[in-house]
């Protein structure tokens, strides 16, 4: 954290990339798909099919009029069994379209590559592909690719950092779909008029760095950038700073700093649609954790229940006590393993009792480790003390809204304080306090 360093503060977290050398396996069709209408940030989709309808592979089953949204497709043919309102895992109402899979995999007749000639038709294709930020944020890509200040945006950053422990699905994507990735970059650069692309990959993914460097060495404007293997290099603001030195001011978007950031799988899914007409209907998922019998990377249809995915990986080796959607640093613990995969899932991790136990919090000893760890250079210990006093003014001064909940501060805290969680509560408090 030296004041002379060119890097943002970061921490060392064990990588646990056990599945790195596991080529992606395709999971057989499940009997049913449970497709959520809430798979992105923005307006949820309304079902465009009715109970009893026959659906085909690639068909739109949910869409919305709203600008900030993306259509949802089915990856299997079959019959719509039900459309039901349920409580989603984040505690909001969600509609689930259940499809009885007929295993015939009839593909939609008019599924063909879209015509992409200029920026407008490109953005239309991006929306039609159903692609959202697959790195985790799930922000509709066509919105991101259409900033208010297109003339100021000159650089595309392809985020292949994958700094979360355990997850290797992006790494597998970079190795297995490298052609789609490079072509996707070229398509995007062409239609969005971008001069430069930086593919940012963490140093621990040597083979991906090598393969992509070889592929782009004759491509003007595309380069591969090796990030340090520390956490959280893949956080949007961090990857922008580390690759370009640019800073996205608080409350602003990357486009305001002249960059667009896109995850590797996002670009691959987009290019697949542009080349084949097949929208986003499946995902590469890393299934790992010490409660999983055969950890591996799996290509799975969106809507597949998690317990069936785990069944494909040999089931549970031990009684699972915690199941996480996403990585261990920022992923969400789920309360039911029968919920289904959505677009922005990239890992399912299951841990046994020993791992899952949450250690007891003790008193803050003011050691400053959290302050040193924070990539945004916030002061988590000071923030949580202000939050305890419900001091909204102090929280604003401490810039708590800049916290990206990366979890670094909680990770290093010897007192086991749930700092990033308290920051989330503090951000809510500031948001509420701001309204009054």
């Amino acid at each position: 954290m030296s004041i002379f360093s060119k890097h943002l503060p970061a921490i060392h977290v064990e990588h646990h990339k056990y599945t790195a050398e596991c080529p992606t396996e395709k999971m057989p069709l499940p009997d049913k798909l449970y497709i959520s209408m809430l798979q992105h940030i923005g307006a949820p989709c309304e079902p465009t099919v009715a109970v009893g309808d026959h659906v085909k592979v690639g068909q739109v089953i949910g869409d919305s009029e709203a600008f900030v949204s993306a259509p949802i497709h089915t990856g299997a043919s079959g019959k719509v069994l039900s459309i039901e309102k349920t409580m989603s895992s984040v505690g909001i109402w969600d509609l689930i379209v259940t499809i009885a899979v007929d295993k015939k995999q009839e593909v939609l007749e008019d599924l063909s590559p879209p015509e992409v000639t200029d920026k407008e038709s490109f953005l239309k294709a991006v929306r039609a592909s159903g692609v959202v930020g697959l790195g985790g944020a799930a922000f509709p890509t066509h919105v991101k690719f259409n900033p208010k200040n297109p003339e100021e945006v000159d650089t595309l950053i392809i985020n292949g950092a994958e700094c979360e422990p355990y997850i290797t699905s992006d790494y597998r994507t970079m190795l297995e779909d490298s052609e789609l990735l490079v072509n996707g970059i070229k398509t995007t650069m062409k239609h969005l008029n971008l001069k430069k692309t930086i593919i940012a990959i963490e140093a621990n993914k040597e083979p991906a760095i090598k393969k992509l460097s070889d592929m782009v060495k004759d491509e003007p404007g595309i380069e591969v950038f090796t990030l340090k293997s520390v956490y959280p290099q893949g956080a949007e603001r961090v990857v922008i700073y580390e690759t370009t030195g640019r800073v996205v001011p608080p409350g602003k978007l990357p486009a305001d700093a002249g960059v667009l950031v896109s995850n590797v799988s996002t670009i691959v899914a987009l290019q697949r649609y542009i080349e084949t007409g097949m929208p986003l209907v499946s995902k590469k998922i890393t299934v790992d954790g010490n409660a999983i019998k055969n950890p591996k990377n799996v290509e799975v249809l969106i809507g597949t229940p998690i317990n069936e995915l785990i069944g494909f990986c040999g089931g549970y080796r031990r009684v699972p006590k915690k199941i996480i959607m996403g990585g261990p640093m920022m992923g969400r613990a789920i309360y039911d393993d029968s919920i289904a995969i959505i677009k922005n899932n990239n890992a399912i991790l299951a841990f046994d009792e020993e791992w899952a136990t949450v250690p007891k919090e003790t008193a803050c000893i003011n050691c400053g480790r959290c302050v040193k760890a924070c990539p945004m250079m916030l002061m988590p210990t000071t923030i949580f003390k202000a939050y305890d006093k419900k001091d909204v003014e102090a929280l604003k001064k401490l810039n708590v809204t800049l916290c990206m909940e990366c979890g670094s501060c909680s990770y290093v805290c010897p007192a086991k304080k749930q700092l990033s969680f308290m920051n989330r509560l503090a951000k809510q408090l500031v948001a509420e306090g701001g309204k009054k």
Partner: protein, 319 residues
């Protein structure tokens, strides 16, 4: 296949993995770092030095346990912080101090300074330093009577004598000063744990190596003392080795609760400690200023913290 849900799954907030560091482990490292100086105190001042430190440790732990018992607070003696306070207090006493006075010191450190202000991490001043100063004000003579190292003892009739800084302060004969080697090893008069620079240095480097402390405070503190001594036309090496500077810079000034959080704050704080130490040494009535300087800077720490908020990401200049 069987389904796992609400009843069986733990749903907690991310991150789901944590570093295996904890408060007890940190305190254990500090204790390990203090062992060389502890052994040297026995070598230099004899078994009474060892017994006095053990008295402090035992009474600190008992006071912590008893206070938490009486106030029905959760018991925290297993975090080992009371043991650390006990050792540091012992190190700051002359080896001849009556045991009961050491027990009073422990009471001040643990009950008054630490627990009444809310326990670990909440105290505004370093417990061991505050206790030392309270003892000094209450029992001036026994607190400033320095038994001589055993070596010297065997060669002369005197049982006690001045510390090197005392000799300087009284305008004494420079030839009476102990050699640098003796000062480096610790064979001089002084508080029982502060004399051996080499032992404290080994411990301090261990703490830095284990990332328990950052080098900022000790380096800047000692550096400031060195430079001021140089400017004042005095022997800088003497000033670095003398008094409680090594103990203070590595083990007392770096106390988490009472030193600033940011690097910038730490630099300001350590320069302040260095300047105050030298002002007291050069112009004060007291021969030694480390304890008072650290105490004063402890009190300023919250203000330094407030003024040295670092620039957040995107909050202006980037370096």
């Amino acid at each position: 296949m069987s389904r796992y849900n609400q009843g069986t799954l733990i749903v907690s907030s991310s991150p789901h993995i944590l570093d295996n560091i904890n408060t007890t482990r940190i305190m254990l490292d500090v204790i390990i770092a203090l062992v060389p100086a502890f052994i040297m105190s026995g070598v230099v001042f004899g078994p009474r030095a060892i017994l006095l430190t053990i008295t402090c440790v035992a009474s600190c732990v008992v006071f912590e346990w008893a206070f938490e018992k009486v106030t029905k607070k959760e018991n925290t003696i297993t975090d080992l912080s009371a043991v650390v306070t006990g050792i540091l207090l012992g190190f700051n006493l002359p080896s001849s101090l009556p045991y009961w006075m050491a027990v009073i010191g422990s009471f001040v450190a643990i009950v008054v300074v630490k627990q009444l202000f809310g326990g670990i991490g909440q105290n505004f001043a370093n417990p061991a330093i505050t206790a030392r100063i309270v003892l000094m004000l209450s029992f001036a003579t026994p607190m400033t009577t320095w038994p001589l190292p055993k070596q010297i003892l065997e060669a002369s009739d005197a049982v006690t004598g001045p510390t090197p800084l005392g000799i300087m302060n009284m305008g004494g004969n420079i030839s009476e000063l102990p050699s640098k080697i003796d000062m480096f090893l610790g064979f001089t008069g002084g508080c029982l744990g502060e004399t051996s620079a080499i032992a404290l240095l080994i411990g301090g480097l261990y703490l830095i190596g284990r990332k328990v402390i950052e080098p900022t405070i000790p380096v800047v503190y000692i550096g400031t003392v060195f430079i001021i001594a140089l400017i004042a036309g005095q022997d800088p090496v003497f000033h670095v080795l003398a008094g409680g500077l090594m103990l203070g810079a590595f083990f007392m000034a770096t106390d988490y609760a009472t030193s600033p959080l940011t690097t910038k704050g730490k630099i300001v704080y350590a320069i302040g400690c260095g300047i105050l130490t030298m002002i007291i040494r050069l112009f004060g009535a007291l021969p030694e200023g480390v304890s008072f300087s650290i105490l004063l800077m402890n009190i300023l720490t919250p203000h330094i913290d407030n003024l040295s908020r670092r620039k957040i990401y995107g909050g202006g200049g980037k370096k």
